[in-house]
Every structure is written in C-alpha cells, then in structure tokens.
C-alpha cells in the first residue's frame, strides 16, 4: 500500500528534467526472481513494480545482495524472470535488445584479449560500423574517461578503476536508448567519480537517454537522479521512491545545500529501516 501510494506521488512530482511525455520506456510488472542453487532456492527479487518514463534518470539503491544486479540483468534481457514481466519501449522483453538496452556491468567483464580501444570498439564492431568510424568514436570515449594514453593496453595491464572506466566507455559506445549501469563508479576516486558523473549527465541530456543507475553512494544518487528507488534487504522489494526535485543542470554547489542534505538523509533513513 505504501508502495503504490508513494509511486503515485512520484509520478505526480516528476516534473523537472528534459523528459517528454509518452509511454514509459521501461515498465516492470510484478517481477520476481528465484535462483535455484544446490543448497535450495534464493528469492532475490519479490514482486517488483515500477515504471521509468522516457528520458528519466532513475537511481536504485539498496543493501548489498538485495537483488539490484539481478534486476538489471533482467532488464537487459539476460536473465528470465521467475514471475512477472518487463516491457521495454512498448514491447515485452524476452531477449537482449541491444539497440534499446545497454549495460555497464558491476564487474568490468572486458574481453582480456582485446586492448582498451578494441574493447570500447567492440559493440560498434558487432554492428558492423566501419573501421575508421568506430576507431574515432572509441578514441573519443576513451578520452572522455581519461584513458586515451592507455588505448593499446590490455585489461590485465590496467588498474581496477581503469578497467571500470573502459567498461563505461564501452557502454557509451553501444549508444542504446536505455542505459543500465551497475555501480559503474564504485572503483573510482571521488574526483574521477564527479567528473564522470557530469559527463554521464551531459550525454544523457544531449542524447535524450533513459538511465537506470545502481549506486551505493547516496550523494551520487541525489546528485544524478530524477528519482531514486530504494530496495529492501533480500528478497529485494521496492520500499521507497524518492523524487529529487533539484533543478537541472546540477552543480557541485547544490551538494552543500540543505535540500540536498535532506534528500540524502531521507534516502539514508529509508535504507536503514530495511
């Protein structure tokens, strides 16, 4: 009940940001997932319901192991729901739809035999983009994540944070309508985190993307998102939706404001009650 109520609220309060009206880009209905393991079943997600209108930036926060990554896998069409369904851009999702949905995974999962540049090029190569074009595009993105000097390095020659940045660049190069990001900045220092967050916002605004963003940093969640979904402990449920009414473009100064502090506090309290 609380859930439905807050959801209505969120829908109403969702005024700002460059989102045009229209059917939601992502609609999740009664989504449940149970993992079968040798030691019995684990219910990872329980009856998840939400919608993400086109062009929104939605954050997901919740305790470790609550099912955030599982949810993202399902949204990407990589994991079949045990119950419920997912509608992406008005079509029920049954398999990956790379043009619509792209993922930046929690663990970088770079192809170890490809250089940083080749990894970023990979989605373009898959769809047959011409060599020169994809090279330019990939280089641009490597520049963006600060790794232009490392274009010819193999993943095992990069630091943890560098690998994660390559993975982010790869997600951008795929250029999907909807970008799912699973703690993309976890391995990065605060400075890089801020810079990349701003770059992400720029890309999001410029290309009218929809972003679903898992993070553990509440500051980051408030700074980036239009709305933050708070998930409960296992089995994951959505226990709160917090709309972030801060205006766009966001600036670092906002972080010091009282509203920002309150919003952060609000989410923090939600999580702690789980």
């Amino acid at each position: 009940m609380v859930r439905t109520a807050s959801r209505k609220m969120a829908a109403v309060a969702n005024a700002p940001a460059p989102a045009p009206a229209g059917p939601p880009d992502v609609a999740v209905e009664h989504l449940t997932h149970v993992y079968e393991t040798a030691n019995g079943a684990v219910k990872a997600l329980d009856d998840i319901d939400f919608e993400v209108p086109q062009g929104k930036f939605v954050g997901i926060v919740g305790p470790s192991g609550c099912g955030k990554s599982s949810l993202l896998l399902m949204l990407a069409g990589l994991l079949q729901p045990s119950e419920g369904r997912i509608v992406v851009r008005e079509h029920a999702l049954t398999a990956p739809r790379p043009a619509d949905v792209g993922v930046v995974f929690q663990e970088a999962s770079l192809l170890p035999w490809k250089t940083a540049l080749e990894n970023v090029e990979f989605p373009l190569k898959l769809r047959g983009t011409a060599r020169a074009e994809r090279r330019d595009r990939a280089l641009e993105l490597l520049e963006l994540v600060g790794l232009a000097d490392f274009r010819d390095r193999l993943p095992h020659e990069l630091s943890g944070g560098m690998r994660q940045r390559v993975s982010i660049a790869r997600g951008f190069s795929q250029d999907p309508k909807i970008l799912l990001m699973d703690e993309p900045f976890a391995a990065l220092d605060e400075q890089t985190r801020l810079t990349l967050g701003d770059e992400l916002l720029k890309i999001w605004t410029r290309h009218q993307k929809t972003v679903i963003f898992v993070t553990h940093s509440l500051t980051e969640a408030v700074y980036l998102c239009d709305e933050v979904l708070v998930m409960s402990h296992r089995p994951g449920r959505i226990i709160d939706r917090v709309t972030i009414p801060l205006e766009r473009p966001r600036t670092y100064e906002m972080m010091a404001t009282e509203t920002f502090g309150h919003l952060r506090e609000r989410i923090w309290r939600s999580i702690r009650t789980t």
């Binding site: 990589l78 990956p96 993922v103 035999w113």
Partner: protein
C-alpha cells in the same frame, strides 16, 4: 631511516635470478644429441640387434640412396595429411563450437560423440577399407574423422569453461550467435582449442600413416611396412624420420598460431 639491521646486500638490489648454467635450448639440443649418439652407437656395438634398430648413419645413407622413392611417398602422405587436417580442423572445430555452446546439444549429443570416439576403429581399419577403399581418399576420410573427434571434444571442453560473463556482455551488446562464437568463444577458449589442434593434428598424422601401413599402395606408411616386412630396417627408420619431419612441420605451424594467440596472456606467475 629505520634503525634496524638488515643485511644490505640482500635487499638493496632486486633479486637477480642467476641464469642457469646452460640455456634451455642448449639442454634440449644436448639431449637430442645424446639420443642420436645412442641411436648410432648402440646398434653399432650390437647392444641392440641391428635388425630392430639400425645405426643412424646407415639410416641416413640408405634413405639418401632411396631418396626418390621416399620423396614420392612423402608427397602422397603430405597431400593426404593436408586434406585430412582441413577436414578435421574445419568440421571438428565447428562441431565442437556448436556442441559446446548449445546447451541441449551439449547435454544430449556430446556424450555420444565421446562414446563413439571410444570405439577403436583403427583396429577395424582393414574391414573399413571395404567401404572407404584403399586409395588416397580413404586415408583422408579415415584420418580426417579420426582427428575430428579430439578436435570436437577439446573445442567443446574449452567453450564450456569460458567465463559466462564474457558471453553475457557480448549478448547485451547485440552479438549474434556467430559473433559470439567467433569473437568471444573462440578467443576465450583458445588454449583448449590449441591443444585440440595439437592432438587432432597428431591423430591425423597417425591416422594417415597407420592407415597406409595397414592397407595401401603408396605413402610413407606403406613404405615403412613394406621395408619392415623385408627387414630393411634402415629404410624403416628413415621413413620414421620423415614422419617426424612432418609432425615437426605441423607442430611448427601450430606453434606460430600459439605464439600469436597467446600474446595477450599475462606472464605466468612462477611458484
């Protein structure tokens, strides 16, 4: 500076491993030389009966004397091996990829494949000649199929051990089945595929030569059996040397592929 006593020499310079007293290549060559020497000396001193092992020099001499015969046979065998290899690698590799990556096939068909492989067809080779004949094509068919099985099995095993995260990432980026196979699974499974190439390669060589030995009218295997039943031991061993050359050449080719493909691997940690 810490006021602790540390023996300066131990720590000041990074440990330099003292080079072995003999470079490894030299050790290998030395061993080879020892083997060749034994090969020459043992039969000469009649420590082994020369009808079973002929001294190396005699072997080379008689080989050179019948160079024409051997060259012709070598040509035949090489052509057979080449065709059989193409078959074993091509068909075996593709079947291995498919069987290893498509789950129902992997569960239902792969075990059958390895069971069929367990049938010792080579023992029944003379019987098989009724169907496959005795010409060059029969060697190609037999050796091709003989080598195809380990290729299938090794490729499938390699594919199965690929980190699923890679496949997942590629799928989410829109890779088609073929793209997943050739751009993700093949490079990721390469070490195992490589050992498939090696084992299949040797089975092809063995298949061709043994089939020639059992029933044929041409090729190195044919020559070896013929010389053997005529007790022309030096020629037998010259034939063996030629077979070794063929495997050596094949191994060299595989080695090239290996070096190229392994370039990205981190250097192994020594224990």
């Amino acid at each position: 500076m810490p006021a602790t006593a540390v023996s300066p020499s131990a720590a000041s310079a990074p440990r330099i491993r003292r080079g072995p007293w003999l470079p490894p290549r030299a050790l290998g060559l030395l061993t080879l030389a020892a083997l060749l020497l034994a090969w020459e000396v043992l039969p000469r001193l009649e420590l082994v009966p020369p009808v079973l092992v002929a001294p190396l020099s005699t072997v080379l001499e008689s080989g050179v004397a019948s160079a024409g015969t051997f060259a012709e046979a070598m040509g035949v065998t090489m052509v057979e091996i080449a065709f059989a290899l193409v078959f074993a690698y091509g068909v075996g590799g593709i079947l291995g990829l498919v069987l290893g990556s498509v789950k129902p096939l992997r569960g239902a068909v792969l075990p059958l494949v390895s069971s069929i492989y367990a049938v010792p067809f080579i023992v029944a080779y003379p019987l098989l000649t009724a169907w496959i004949g005795i010409g060059m094509e029969s060697k190609v068919i037999f050796a091709g199929i003989y080598g195809m099985f380990p290729m299938i099995l090794a490729t499938a095993a390699g594919v199965r051990t690929v980190d699923p995260a890679f496949v997942r990432a590629a799928r989410s980026m829109g890779a088609t089945r073929a793209q997943i196979l050739f751009q993700v699974l093949v490079p990721a499974a390469f070490p195992s595929i490589l050992s498939g190439l090696r084992i299949a390669g040797s089975l092809v060589t063995i298949g061709v030569v043994v089939a020639e030995m059992l029933a044929s009218t041409a090729g190195l295997g044919f020559l070896i059996t013929q010389y053997r039943s005529m007790f022309q031991t030096p020629e037998v061993y010259f034939g063996i040397i030629l077979v070794l050359c063929l495997t050596g050449f094949l191994d060299f080719l595989i080695g090239c592929v290996e070096r190229k493909a392994a370039a990205w691997r981190p250097r192994k940690e020594l224990i």
